[in-house]
C-alpha cells in the first residue's frame, strides 16, 4: 500500500524535523553548551523550510499560516539567544523541542484528515510541555508543565471522543469525505452537534479560549519568557489555522451547530481575558491574559467563515498580533536577563532609561491595544470586525468594541509605566553578553516592521490571502 504524500505540504515540516535532529546531534557531539552550536542548524532549517514553502502556492490559507508559524519560530530561535550561558537551559534539547513543536504546527495547519490533525496536535503539544518544564531545577517550571500537561491530555481526550463520534456518523476521517458525510440529511443533528463541539475542544484548548484558558497564565508565568512567546504565537497560529481549516473544509454543513458556540466562546474569551489582565502586576502575566483576550478576537471572525473574509481576517489579525506579541516577549526576555524581573514596577521609565527596549515595548503594547500611532493594530481590529458585522453578528461586533476599550485600560497602564520617570538610576548589567545583542536586534527588527506596517498597512493586507 502506498500512502500518497503531498510534498508541498509535508516538505517544510520534514525539513524542520530534520533540522531538529541535527540540532540535537550537534549538541550531543560538540557539548560545549553554547547556544549558537545548535541554534545555527535550527535557524538554517527554518530558513530552508521557508524556501521550500515559497515554492508552493503562495495564495492559500495553509501557506499563510505556515509562513506565520515558520517566521514566528525563527524569531523565537533568534531571540532565545538571550538565554545563552544560562546553565539551567540545555540548548540542544531546547532547539530540538522547539523545532519539533514547530513541525507539529506546520503539519497541523496542512492537515486534511483528522488522524493527521490529532497526531500533529500531539507533536505540537508534547514538545511544548517538555519545553515549559525544561529549565533544570526549577520547581515552578515543573509545576507549570504539569498543569499544561494535564489540561492538554484532558482536552485531547475530549477531542478524540468527538472524533470517534464523527467517524461513527460519517464513516471517514478525511475532511472532504467528512463534509459529504455530514451533508447527508439522514444524519441526526443532535449527534453531529455534540461530535463537532467535542472535536473543536482540543483546538480551542491550544488556542487558549475560554473555558480552556486557565492553564495559560500559570504556564506562561512559570516557563522561560521565549517559550511563553512561542506558545502565545506559534502554537496559537497553528491551532487557529487547523481550527479554521477544519471548520471551513470539513464541517461547513454542521455550521448551525458550531457557529453559536464559536461566537459565544469568542465573546466570553475576550472579555475574561481582558478582565483578568486588569489585575496583573507582572508584565508576563499581563501578556498572558492579554493573549487570551486576543484569542477571542482571532476566533470571532470564524462566525463568518462561509464568506471569504471569514478566513482572511483572522490570518491578517494573527500576523499583526504575532509580530507585536513576539516583540513584547522578546523585549521582556531581555529585561528579565538584564534586570532579573519582569514586574511592572521594574519596567518603570524604561522608555526613557533604555529606549531601545522600552520604545518597542510601547509600540507592541499599542499594537495589541489597536491604538494609533500603531495603526496596524487598529487596522487589523477593523479587519476582524468587518466579517463579523457582514455576517449580521452586530452584537458580537459591539462586544469586540467594548473589549477594545477594556483592553486599552491595561495596555495603557503598561505604556504609562514605561513612559513614566524612572525611580532612581536603572540597574544596568555590567557586561551584557554578545548574545543578548542578538536578541535585542531581533526586537528592534520586529519593532521596525511594526513601524513600517503602521505606515503602510497595505504591505500586510495585500500580501496575505
Amino acid at each position: 500500500m502506498t500512502i500518497p504524500i503531498d510534498w508541498t505540504v509535508a516538505g517544510p515540516a520534514t525539513i524542520v524535523l530534520a533540522g531538529a535532529l541535527v540540532a540535537l546531534l550537534v549538541d550531543a557531539f560538540y557539548p560545549r553548551r553554547t547556544w549558537l552550536g545548535s541554534g545555527l542548524p535550527a535557524t538554517v532549517a527554518l530558513v530552508a523550510a521557508g524556501g521550500e514553502l515559497l515554492r508552493g502556492d503562495a495564495g492559500t490559507y495553509p501557506f499563510a499560516f505556515s509562513a506565520i508559524v515558520l517566521a514566528g519560530t525563527l524569531f523565537v530561535v533568534v531571540a532565545s539567544n538571550v538565554m545563552n550561558f544560562e546553565n539551567a537551559m540545555p540548548p540542544g534539547e531546547y532547539h530540538f523541542l522547539l523545532l519539533s513543536a514547530a513541525a507539529g504546527g506546520l503539519l497541523m495547519v496542512g492537515a486534511r484528515d483528522i488522524v493527521t490533525l490529532v497526531v500533529a496536535l500531539e507533536l505540537l503539544s508534547l514538545p511544548s510541555i517538555a519545553l515549559v518544564g525544561l529549565r533544570q531545577g526549577d520547581r515552578v517550571a515543573i509545576r507549570s508543565a504539569w498543569t499544561f500537561f494535564l489540561a492538554s491530555v484532558v482536552s485531547t481526550a475530549i477531542t478524540l471522543m468527538g472524533v470517534s463520534l464523527l467517524y461513527g456518523i460519517a464513516g471517514s476521517l478525511d475532511y472532504a469525505k467528512l463534509r459529504d458525510g455530514l451533508a447527508d440529511p439522514r444524519v441526526p443533528d443532535g449527534v453531529v452537534a455534540v461530535a463537532v463541539v467535542l472535536t473543536v475542544v482540543g483546538l480551542l484548548f491550544k488556542l487558549g479560549a475560554v473555558p480552556f484558558h486557565v492553564w495559560i497564565p500559570d504556564t506562561y508565568g512559570g516557563t522561560s519568557v521565549m517559550v511563553a512567546g512561542f506558545l502565545s504565537t506559534v502554537s496559537k497560529a497553528a491551532a487557529l489555522g487547523a481550527l479554521l481549516t477544519l471548520l471551513s473544509v470539513a464541517l461547513p454543513s454542521a455550521h448551525d451547530a458550531w457557529q453559536p458556540v464559536v461566537g459565544i466562546v469568542a465573546a466570553v474569551t475576550m472579555t475574561i481575558g481582558n478582565v483578568g489582565a486588569l489585575r496583573q502586576d507582572d508584565a508576563i502575566g499581563l501578556l498572558a491574559w492579554s493573549s487570551i483576550a486576543q484569542a477571542g478576537f482571532l476566533l470571532a471572525p470564524a462566525v463568518a467563515i462561509g464568506t471569504s473574509e471569514g478566513l482572511t481576517a483572522p490570518v491578517q489579525y494573527l500576523a499583526g498580533y504575532a509580530l507585536a506579541n513576539l516583540v513584547a516577549f522578546a523585549a521582556l526576555a531581555v529585561v528579565l536577563r538584564l534586570r532579573g524581573s519582569t514586574g511592572l514596577e521594574e519596567l518603570r521609565g524604561m522608555a526613557r532609561s533604555d529606549p531601545w527596549m522600552g520604545i518597542p515595548l510601547v509600540l507592541a503594547g499599542l499594537t495589541l491595544a489597536g491604538f494609533p500611532p500603531a495603526v496596524i493594530g487598529l487596522v487589523t481590529k477593523y479587519v476582524v470586525i468587518r466579517p463579523v458585522v457582514d455576517s449580521d453578528h452586530v452584537w458580537l461586533a459591539v462586544v469586540m468594541g467594548v473589549n477594545v476599550m477594556l483592553g486599552l485600560a491595561y495596555y495603557l497602564r503598561l505604556v504609562v509605566i514605561l513612559c513614566d520617570r524612572p525611580d532612581g538610576d536603572p540597574y544596568v548589567s555590567p557586561s551584557p553578553p554578545v548574545s543578548v545583542r542578538i536578541a535585542k536586534s531581533a526586537v528592534l527588527l520586529g519593532a521596525g516592521a511594526l513601524v513600517v506596517l503602521s505606515a503602510w498597512p497595505d504591505l500586510l493586507l495585500t500580501h496575505l490571502p
Partner: protein
C-alpha cells in the same frame, strides 16, 4: 498643502518630545507657536470656495479595505480647522514660560495636529485613526501636568494624591472616550460594508444599527447627557492649555463628527429626536449643575455641556439653518470657552485654586483687566448679543422653531422650550459667578496681579475674535448661503 499643515506641527511636536532635554521651555513654546501659525496660514490659504473640496489629497492607502489617504477642506470643516489652529497657536503662546516642559508643548502640538487631521479627513477609517491618535497624548497632558480640583494646599503628601486624582480623571476621560469610539468603529465598519466605500463623499448607509452606534459614539465625545460624567473631572483636572484644548477642540470632534456622519447615515432621522431631547435636557441639566459649583473650572466645564446641547439640538434638526447654527455654535464655543478657561487658568495660577470663595470678591478692584476679560467671556458665554456666543444659540433656537425635516413639531418645540429655560438659568449662574468674583468689596490677596503680557496677548486675541464674530457673523454664516439671515444681515 494640507499634508504640510498637518505634518509641520506633528513633526515639531515629536521632535520636541524626543529632544525635550535639549531645548528650553520658552524656545519650545515659540517653536510650537510657529508651527501652529504655519498650519493656520496654510489652512487659511488653502480655501478655494465653498462649492469645492479645497486642497484635496487622495492617495491610495489600504487597498483591500478601500481606505484611502483622502484629505480635504470642506465648507463644514474649514471653520473648525481655523479655530483649532488658532487655539493651538494660543495654547503654545500660553506656555511661554521658563518652567514649561518642552514635552508638554510637543503633546499640545501632536493633539492639535491629530484634531486637524480629524477635521480634514475625507475617509472614514482615516478619520477614526486621527480621532484615536489624539487621545493618549491627552491622557498624558491631564495626568502628568494636571492637578486635582479639590486641591486645598500645597505639600508633598498632598501633591502625590492630587496627581493620582488627575490620573484618575484622565483615565476616566480616556475610558469613556474609547468606549464611545469603539462603538464608532463598529459603526464605521457597518457603513463601509453597507455603502461599499469608506469615502465620506460617497458613503451611505441605510442601517439603523450604524446610526445608533455612531451617534452613541459621538454622544460620549460631545458629550450629550447622560454620557457627560467624564467631562467636568477631566476639564477641571487638566492644566490650562489642556482644558482649553479639551473644551475648544476635543468636544468639537464630537459635534463635527455628528455633522459629518449625519450626511452619511440615512437613518439619522430615527435617532435625531433622542439627540434633540438629550441635547435640550443637557442645557437645563448643566445650568442647574453650574449653579451649585464653587470651582470655576468645573463651572466652565459644565457650561460646555450646555453649549454642546445647543449644538446637538441644531444638528438634530438637519436643516440648513441647523447646520449653520451647529458650526457657528461650535466655533463660538471654542473661542468663548477657550477664553473662559484661560481666564480661570490665570486665576488658578495666581491664587493656587479655582474655588470662587477662596479667590474672593472684588476682582474689578484687584486686577481690573483680568476681571474685565473674565466678565466679557462670561457674558459672551451666556449669549449676549454682539458677541460670538449669541448667534450660535439664536440660530439653534430658530432651527428648532422651524422644526426642520426630520423632527416632529412636539419634539422640536419641547427642545426649544427646554433650551429657553436653559438660557435663563445660564444667565443666572454666570451672573452669580460674576457677582462672586468680579463685583463686591475688594478683599486684597497676595496673589493679586493684573494680566501679564503673555496673558494679555492670548486673551486679547480671543477677545478680538469673539467680538469680530459677534459683530460680523456673516464671516462664518456666509459659507452656508442658501439660508438668508434676515436678522444676521
Amino acid at each position: 498643502m494640507i499634508v504640510a499643515a498637518l505634518l509641520v506641527p506633528a513633526l515639531v511636536g515629536l521632535l520636541l518630545m524626543i529632544g525635550r532635554r535639549l531645548v528650553r521651555g520658552r524656545t519650545a513654546a515659540w517653536l510650537g507657536a510657529g508651527a501652529m501659525t504655519v498650519s493656520l496660514v496654510l489652512f487659511a490659504d488653502v480655501w478655494e470656495g465653498r462649492a469645492d473640496v479645497s486642497g484635496e489629497v487622495d492617495v491610495s492607502w489600504i487597498e483591500p479595505l478601500g481606505a484611502r489617504l483622502h484629505l480635504g477642506v470642506t465648507v463644514v470643516s474649514w471653520p473648525f480647522l481655523l479655530m483649532t489652529a488658532l487655539i493651538g497657536v494660543l495654547c503654545c503662546l500660553w506656555l511661554l514660560a521658563d518652567d514649561t516642559s518642552p514635552a508638554l508643548v510637543g503633546l499640545v502640538l501632536v493633539i492639535s495636529a491629530a484634531s486637524m487631521g480629524v477635521f480634514s479627513s475625507l475617509d472614514l477609517l482615516l478619520f477614526f485613526v486621527f480621532f484615536e491618535l489624539a487621545l493618549i497624548p491627552m491622557w498624558f497632558v491631564i495626568a502628568w501636568w494636571g492637578s486635582s480640583t479639590s486641591s486645598s494646599g500645597a505639600g508633598a503628601a498632598h501633591q502625590s494624591r492630587f496627581k493620582n486624582g488627575a490620573r484618575y480623571s484622565a483615565t476616566r476621560f480616556l475610558m469613556f472616550t474609547v468606549g464611545g469610539s469603539a462603538l464608532l468603529l463598529v459603526g464605521i465598519v457597518v457603513i463601509g460594508l453597507d455603502g461599499g466605500t469608506l469615502q465620506v463623499l460617497d458613503a451611505g448607509s441605510a442601517s439603523l444599527a450604524a446610526a445608533v452606534l455612531v451617534c452613541l459614539g459621538f454622544a460620549v465625545k460631545t458629550p450629550i447627557v447622560p454620557f457627560h460624567t467624564w467631562l467636568p473631572d477631566a476639564h477641571s483636572a487638566a492644566p490650562t492649555a489642556g482644558s482649553v484644548l479639551l473644551a475648544a477642540v476635543f468636544l468639537k470632534l464630537g459635534t463635527y463628527g455628528l455633522i459629518l456622519f449625519s450626511t452619511v447615515l440615512d437613518r439619522f432621522e430615527d435617532v435625531a429626536p433622542y439627540l434633540a431631547i438629550a441635547g435640550a435636557i443637557g442645557i437645563v441639566w448643566s445650568a442647574l449643575a453650574c449653579y451649585v459649583q464653587d470651582d470655576l473650572k468645573r463651572l466652565v466645564a459644565y457650561s460646555s455641556i450646555g453649549h454642546m446641547g445647543f449644538v446637538v439640538l441644531a444638528i438634530s434638526t438637519q436643516s440648513s439653518a441647523g447646520l449653520a447654527a451647529a458650526v457657528f455654535g461650535s466655533v463660538a464655543h471654542g473661542l468663548v470657552t477657550g477664553l473662559l478657561f484661560f481666564a480661570a487658568g490665570s486665576l488658578k495660577e495666581r491664587f493656587g485654586t479655582a474655588s470662587m470663595t477662596r479667590i474672593g470678591r472684588g476682582l474689578y478692584g484687584r486686577s481690573p483687566w483680568l476681571a474685565v476679560t473674565f466678565v466679557l467671556a462670561a457674558v459672551a458665554s451666556l449669549g449676549l448679543p454682539g458677541l460670538a456666543g449669541f448667534w450660535g444659540e439664536l440660530l439653534s433656537l430658530r432651527a428648532a422653531y422651524e422644526v426642520g425635516d426630520v423632527l416632529t413639531k412636539p419634539v422640536a418645540w419641547t427642545g426649544l422650550g427646554l433650551a429657553l429655560v436653559g438660557i435663563a438659568l445660564t444667565t443666572a449662574y454666570f451672573v452669580r459667578a460674576i457677582r462672586l468674583l468680579a463685583q463686591g468689596e475688594p478683599v486684597p490677596h497676595d496673589g493679586d496681579r493684573d494680566l501679564g503680557r503673555r496673558e494679555a496677548v492670548v486673551m486679547g486675541a480671543l477677545v478680538v475674535a469673539i467680538v469680530v464674530l459677534g459683530l460680523v457673523p456673516a464671516l462664518v454664516l456666509d459659507l452656508y448661503e442658501p439660508i438668508r439671515f434676515s436678522v444676521a444681515r
